[in-house]
C-alpha cells in the first residue's frame, strides 16, 4: 500500500508538468482501484474484538471462550476461568516458544511475559507463527503484535534481552519477582523455557532455583527429529544442573549424522508437537487436571514417548538447588499432614471412578517416595529408560580447594595480572 501511494505521488508530480488531458483520467482510475483494498484493510483492523470482562460459558458464535468453558461443563476442569489469574513467563520466542505463547493466548491466560534477544528472520519461516512482514522486528515485539490481535484480554510484556549476560539476568530476575495483581509468592505462576541452547537453560535454572519457582523445560534436538518436555520444581525434582541433561535418542547413528556445513535443522512439525506437549502439561499444572508429566520425551522417527522421574541430586553443583532441597525436606511433615487431610476429604466425598489410567507404555524409573535420599543419578546412565540418553558427561570428580589457596602466585594482584596480559598483548 505504502509503495503504491508513493508511486502515485511521483506520478502526480509528473502530471503537474504534463499537458496530456487523458493522464488525469488514468490517475482517477488508479485511485479508484485503491479504494476497495484500503477499505478491506480497514475492515480487518476494525474486526479486532474488544476486551471481555468475564469469561462466559454461553455457546454463541461471538464468544471466544465458549469451547474452553465447555471443559468445565464436561467436568475435565473444575474452574477454567482461573486461567485469567495466572501469569506465565516464556523464555525464548522461537519455533517452540512462539507457538506456546499463541496456545496460551488463545486459552485466555491472564498475563504472558516474553523474553528473547533475537529478531525475526526469513530463515525462521519454516517454523510456525511469525510472518514474512515481521522480518526485522524483535521476536518479542512481533509476538506481542500478533498475540494482542488474537486475544486482547491477555496482558503481554515484551522483554528483548539476553538473559545469559549479567545485566540481562538481573532484569530477568526482577521481572519474574515483580508482583502481579493477584500477588502470589513471585510474580509468575510458571516459567516455560523454550530456548535452544544449554547455556540459556542453565540460566533459567539458576533464576528458578533462586526464586523457588516451578518451571518447565522444553527442547528439540538439533537434528529436528526428537524433543522433550520436563517439569522442574526446585528442591522437589532434579534441577537442570543436578545431572547432565537428558535427551531422547533419535536412534540415528551419530557417526552417520552429517554435520558439515550446518549447525542445526528444524521442522515446524516437531516444534509444534513439543509446544503442544509443553502447553498441555502447563494447563494441567495450572488448572489442576490430569497428571502433570515430570519428563516426557518424543522420538518422531519411532513415534516413541519415553517418560521418567528424576530426584534432586544432594551433591548438585548449584547452591540454590541444595538450599531448596533442604527446605523441601524440612517441610515434609507439613506436606504429609496436608496430603492425609486431602485424602480423607476425597475418600468421604466420592465413589467416583479413578483418574489414573494404566499407561503400560510409560516407564517410570523411580518409586513414588519423596525422600531425597542418596542420589540415584550417579548411576543414572544405567537406570535410564530405553531411548533416553545423557546429552553431556558428568564432570570428573574433582576436589575443590576448601579454603582459597594462599601461595605467592594466588596473591597476585588483579591489576598486576591485567598489566601482564596487556604487556603480552602489545608485544
Amino acid at each position: 500500500m505504502e509503495e503504491e501511494l508513493r508511486a502515485l505521488l511521483r506520478d502526480l508530480d509528473a502530471l503537474k508538468q504534463s499537458a496530456d488531458p487523458t493522464a488525469i483520467d488514468r490517475m482517477r482510475e488508479r485511485v479508484a482501484g485503491m479504494v476497495s483494498p484500503a477499505a478491506a484493510a480497514a475492515a480487518a483492523v476494525g474486526a479486532a474484538r474488544s476486551k471481555i470482562k468475564d469469561m462466559s460459558a454461553e455457546v454463541v458464535d461471538s464468544n471466544p471462550y465458549s469451547r474452553l468453558m465447555a471443559l468445565q461443563r464436561m467436568g475435565i476442569v473444575d474452574n477454567y476461568e482461573r486461567i485469567r489469574d495466572y501469569s506465565v513467563a516464556i523464555v525464548g520466542i522461537g519455533g517452540v516458544g512462539s507457538v506456546a505463547a499463541e496456545m496460551l493466548t488463545r486459552c485466555g491466560i491472564g498475563r504472558l511475559l516474553l523474553y528473547d534477544y533475537d529478531t525475526v528472520e526469513l530463515a525462521n519461516m519454516n517454523r510456525l507463527f511469525f510472518r514474512p512482514d515481521q522480518v526485522g522486528m524483535t521476536k518479542t515485539d512481533a509476538a506481542v503484535q500478533t498475540l494482542s490481535g488474537i486475544n486482547p484480554d491477555v496482558v503481554l510484556e515484551s522483554y528483548s534481552l539476553n538473559i545469559t549476560t549479567v545485566k540481562g539476568f538481573e532484569t530477568f530476575l526482577g521481572s519474574l519477582k515483580a508482583k502481579s495483581a493477584h500477588g502470589c509468592n513471585t510474580g509468575v505462576d510458571l516459567v516455560l523455557s523454550c530456548v535452544d541452547n544449554y547455556e540459556a537453560r542453565m540460566v533459567v535454572n539458576q533464576a528458578c532455583n533462586e526464586l523457588g519457582q516451578t518451571w518447565m523445560e522444553s527442547g528439540v534436538s538439533e537434528d529436528a527429529v526428537s524433543g522433550h518436555i520436563q517439569l522442574l520444581v526446585p528442591g522437589e525434582t532434579a534441577c537442570f544442573a543436578c545431572a547432565p541433561p537428558l535427551v531422547v535418542a533419535s536412534g540415528v547413528d551419530e557417526r552417520t549424522l552429517k554435520r558439515e556445513g550446518v549447525c542445526a535443522a528444524s521442522l515446524p512439525t516437531t516444534m509444534g508437537v513439543v509446544a503442544g506437549l509443553l502447553i498441555q502439561n502447563a494447563l494441567k499444572y495450572l488448572l489442576k487436571f490430569g497428571q502433570v508429566s515430570p519428563y516426557l520425551g518424543y522420538n518422531s522417527l519411532k513415534d516413541y514417548f519415553p517418560t521418567m522421574e528424576m530426584k534432586p541430586n544432594p551433591q548438585c553443583s548449584n547452591p540454590a538447588c541444595v538450599q531448596r532441597q533442604k527446605e523441601y525436606m524440612q517441610s515434609k511433615p507439613a506436606r504429609d499432614a496436608a496430603a492425609k487431610a486431602k485424602m480423607e476429604a476425597e475418600a468421604s466425598a466420592a465413589d467416583e471412578c479413578p483418574v489414573h489410567v494404566d499407561n503400560e507404555w510409560n516407564i517410570s524409573v523411580l518409586d513414588d517416595s519423596d525422600t531425597a535420599t542418596s542420589s540415584i543419578l550417579s548411576t543414572a546412565a544405567d537406570s535410564l529408560p530405553e531411548g533416553l540418553v545423557r546429552e553431556l558427561p558428568t564432570a570428573d570428580s574433582y576436589q575443590e580447594p576448601i579454603a582459597p589457596v594462599t601461595s605467592g602466585a594466588i596473591d597476585d594482584d588483579l591489576e598486576e595480572l591485567q598489566r601482564q596480559l596487556d604487556a603480552l598483548n602489545s608485544s
Binding site: Y117, D118, E121, N162, I163, T164, T165, V166, F169, N197, Y198, E199, M202, V203, N205, Q206, A241, P244, E254, R259, G261, V262, C263, S317, L392, P393, T394, A395, D396, Y398, E400, P401, P404, V405, S407, A409, I410, D412, L414, L417, Q418, Q420, L421, D422, L424, N425, S427
Partner: protein, 223 residues
C-alpha cells in the same frame, strides 16, 4: 595449500603443566591435566599438547559470585598469560583478548588465521555467562555473522560435538584460554579456508577496489 590448523596448533611439545601454587597443588593439577587430556578422544595431537600447557583453574565461580569471581578472574588471567606466552614462544600467536569492563564479565579482542600465506583477522567478543563456568562462554565473531552456517545468530560460533562434553567433564578447571584453544582455534582452522575459498571472506587488501567500484556505481544510479 597449508594444512588446516597448521598455523596455530604446534605439533611439538610435551604435555607439561605449569606449576602454580603450592607443590601439592601442582602435582594435583598435573594429574588433573593428564586426566583432561586422556578424555580428549577425537581431538588432534596438536590441540591436545597445547591444552596441556594451559594452567587449569580451580575456583568454581561465576560473574555474580563477588569475591569468588575476583579469585576466578585471577586464575583466568594466569591461564591467558600462560597460553599467550606459549603461543608466542612457538611463533604461533593467533589472538588478542582483554576484559572490556572492570568486572571482567565482557571480553573483546581479535583473532587471526593464516590461509594461503595471507592473514585474515576478525574481531572477537563474548560475555561471561551467568551460569559460568558450568557453561562455556559463547564466542562471537560479529563480522562473520550471516556468512556461514557454522554459526548461530549474533555471530556465535557453532562448536564441534567434541567441545561441550569436554568442557562439562572438566568443569570448573577449564577457563577462557581453554575455550579459545579448544573452541575457537579448531573453528577458525575448519571454517576460514572455506570462507576464503568460497569468496565469502575477502582479504582486506582485496576489499578496496570492488567496494570503491560499488560506491561509484551507486552514486551514478542516484544522480
Amino acid at each position: 595449500m597449508p594444512r588446516a590448523g597448521e598455523n596455530h596448533i604446534p605439533i611439538a611439545g610435551n604435555t607439561k603443566v605449569e606449576e602454580h601454587g603450592a607443590k601439592g597443588e601442582g602435582r594435583r593439577a598435573a594429574a588433573a591435566a593428564a586426566a583432561a587430556i586422556r578424555s580428549m578422544e577425537g581431538w588432534d595431537r596438536g590441540t591436545k599438547s597445547v591444552v596441556g600447557e594451559i594452567p587449569l583453574l580451580s575456583t568454581r565461580a561465576g560473574p555474580r559470585d563477588g569475591d569468588a569471581w575476583r579469585q576466578r578472574l585471577k586464575e583466568e588471567y594466569r591461564a591467558l598469560i600462560s597460553y599467550t606466552s606459549v603461543n608466542k614462544s612457538k611463533d604461533n600467536d593467533w589472538f588478542r583478548i582483554s576484559a572490556a569492563n572492570p568486572e571482567g564479565t565482557r571480553w573483546e579482542g581479535t583473532c587471526w588465521y593464516v590461509h594461503n600465506l595471507r592473514r585474515y583477522e576478525f574481531p572477537l567478543q563474548f560475555d561471561i555467562p551467568v551460569a559460568y563456568p558450568q557453561v562455556a562462554p559463547e564466542i562471537e565473531l560479529p563480522t562473520l555473522d550471516g556468512k556461514t552456517h557454522k554459526m548461530y545468530r549474533g555471530g556465535k560460533i557453532c562448536l564441534t560435538v567434541h567441545f561441550k562434553p569436554l568442557w562439562a567433564k572438566n568443569c570448573p578447571r577449564f577457563g577462557i584460554a581453554h575455550a579459545l584453544c579448544l573452541g575457537l582455534a579448531p573453528w577458525l582452522a575448519a571454517e576460514v579456508p572455506i570462507l576464503v575459498d568460497s569468496g565469502m571472506v575477502k582479504h582486506k587488501d582485496d576489499e578496496g577496489a570492488p567496494a570503491e567500484a560499488a560506491a561509484a556505481s551507486g552514486s551514478a544510479a542516484a544522480s
